[in-house]
């Protein structure tokens, strides 16, 4: 019994890794999105690791709770998590063939993303009004504001692209020109944006 299970497992491994068929039993658009997300992980890992190295080597860093409004950032996190959940429901609805629900929840996700961006604009403009610039700020080491602007800017750029991507997906879904899998792939991107924010929120704002 155990032998046949492992033989089956090996055959499964071989089937997954040989050419001439769809790798991993997935269609290529989904695999390509995953590969893009892995490479995008590199981007953000680089940014966050650079922040970590800088902070460790400086040995001094402004106290974040004196600078940031924790409740505003908490609310932004809450909204982004909710938008990720609504996107997950849209993807499930697409698979179940519930067209109305897909539309409704993709648009809810867009709304969440737009609210997040609006709050980030508010946060940035507050920060700049209080005297923060890319290479100087009133709270301490100049690297503090540089890290803030570059990391949250990169993330905000991803959210902006995600909102546009989801709007296009909603439009194409309404016209019936895409398959449920396209909604799922858009969902993968959106969840990744949420995933990155988990680390930015923890490392930049809380730690």
């Amino acid at each position: 019994m155990a032998h046949s299970v492992s033989a089956e497992h090996n055959q499964g491994m071989a089937a997954d890794w040989t050419g001439g068929q769809s790798p991993f039993g997935l269609n290529w658009p989904k695999v390509m999105m995953w590969l893009f997300l892995i490479s995008d992980t590199l981007t953000f890992a680089g940014l966050l690791m650079g922040y970590g190295a800088m902070r460790l080597s400086l040995g001094t860093w402004p106290k974040q709770s004196d600078v940031f409004h924790l409740w505003l950032v908490g609310l932004m996190t809450f909204i982004l998590i909710c938008s990720s959940a609504t996107m997950a429901i849209a993807v499930a609805a697409a698979r179940l063939g519930d067209k109305r629900t897909v539309m409704r929840f993709v648009l809810l996700t867009v709304l969440g993303g737009a609210m997040f961006l609006g709050m980030q604009v508010y946060e940035w403009s507050n920060f700049i009004h209080e005297g923060a610039r890319l290479f100087e700020n009133p709270w301490g080491v100049p690297q503090f504001s540089a890290t803030f602007f570059i990391t949250t800017g990169f993330h905000g750029g991803h959210v902006t692209v995600g909102v546009i991507y989801l709007l296009i997906t909603a439009l194409r879904w309404a016209r019936g020109s895409i398959q449920p899998e396209s909604v799922e792939i858009a969902g993968l991107y959106w969840h990744f944006v949420d995933l990155v924010w988990v680390f930015i929120f923890t490392l930049l704002y809380l730690l």
Binding site: G12, I81, A88, V198, F201
Partner: protein, 100 residues
């Protein structure tokens, strides 16, 4: 776990969503309580890894893909975290100690 390969309803997503919110509130609570720095850092890191795992496994459906694909996605991320940290952190600490 006795879940089917492709779960049908929305229930799993709602549960994941609630857990993500609970962990986020715990993160904020831990900061507000004011723990020692090392304990705070390890707690926060642990909780953010838990959130990341929830998002990847359930929202992004990775748990329901083939094992080979799970390795393909997760292995580079783990290698990245370990290798980058292993090389960068000692260097940063060295700079810090030679600055004083």
């Amino acid at each position: 776990m006795a879940e089917p390969r492709h779960e049908g309803g929305y229930k799993g997503y709602v549960i994941t969503w609630v857990w993500l919110l609970v962990i986020t509130m715990l993160e904020i609570a831990v900061v507000l309580v004011g723990l020692p720095k090392a304990l705070l850092a390890s707690l926060l890191l642990l909780m953010s890894l838990m959130k990341a795992a929830l998002i990847i496994a359930y929202f992004m459906h990775l748990r329901y893909e083939r094992v080979a694909f799970i390795y393909t996605v997760v292995a580079p991320m783990i290698v990245l975290a370990v290798v980058l940290f292993a090389f960068v952190a000692p260097d940063a600490l060295h700079v810090f100690s030679s600055r004083r």
